[in-house]
Symmetry: C2
Subunit: 178 residues, 2 copies
């Protein structure tokens, strides 16, 4: 951020009066521009004993496999965002079963919220951001080609819980790789 | 948003190429300014059979009672944000027990995530945003003076679940009042 989005004058990065951390501040109009983490919502689409994965047609991680997920938009519920992302990336219609896992990715200011979901039918096909969408049995999951660590963590937690036959709400952190 | 925070030129509110909704776009530098919901994190601080509430020293809802909660900051986990807000508003130290409830407040682009928490000690006192902080038994909760509907909904869900002796993760919506 270089300029005030309110008045167009240059901003300073400094601690506002009464605050305890630096923000982008406009000395011309007085506006303080807060920046906060973004929520990424996604689904784990089940069909019988299989899960639907998407092979990415965009960077980062072009060609790798992921679960449908993306930024929550203004005006939508977290579950509706997960449904929309699943439709956009896999042209797949799902019913949300339950919120399942929250992952903090602090170094990129993202919070992931993943929902268990059930495919309504098998009429899925790649959206514009996917090369391919496909149902996988656990033994066929391409573990070496999963796009993001948060997706790998989600899938591993899911299969561990499935063995126990219950899916309590899970929370975890994805730290900076060493 | 009136001006591009990147280059300072005026922005247009229009649908970017390949997108499906309007965004603030800069025709000078090409930047698209996405706006997304903010995550509010808070705690339900327990001490034996009592909960800690804060009486607000700021608007909106000056003088009303609330649970400690506020915007998640960049770089912190959701649980750490709830701990920080509890410290700021009630000068109270808590251990997080579990994530408990997610509420969508779509008309203000907020997602609330509330954690059950346990007070480490009874050395609490009002922070700068509180007039008073106090432990309440269920029968003493000032239901007519609760600051926000999301806090009212959180407390009611909490007491309903407490009667059943278990706290599954809950999800709800706070709609525009009629």
């Amino acid at each position: 951020m270089n300029f005030c989005s309110n008045c167009g004058k240059p901003v300073l990065y400094q601690v506002p009066p009464g605050d305890d951390r630096s923000r982008y501040c406009c000395e011309a109009c007085g506006e303080v521009h807060y920046q906060n983490p973004k929520l990424v919502v996604g689904s784990i689409p089940e069909s019988d004993d299989k899960l639907l994965l998407c092979r990415r047609a965009i960077e980062p991680c072009y060609g790798m496999w992921t679960l449908p997920a993306g930024y929550l938009e203004n005006g939508e519920t977290a579950a509706d965002g997960a449904i929309r992302e699943t439709l956009e990336e896999a042209q797949a219609r799902v019913d949300i079963l339950a919120p399942y896992a929250l992952f903090n990715i602090c170094h990129v200011n993202q919070i992931y919220l993943m929902f268990r979901a059930r495919l309504k039918d098998n009429n899925f096909r790649p959206g514009s951001e996917s090369l391919e969408v496909k149902l996988f049995r656990e033994e066929d999951i391409p573990w070496e080609e999963i796009a993001f660590r948060v997706i790998d963590a989600t899938l591993r937690q899911y299969y561990a819980d499935r063995k126990n036959g219950s899916f309590p709400f899970r929370m975890g952190n994805i730290a900076i790789p060493r």
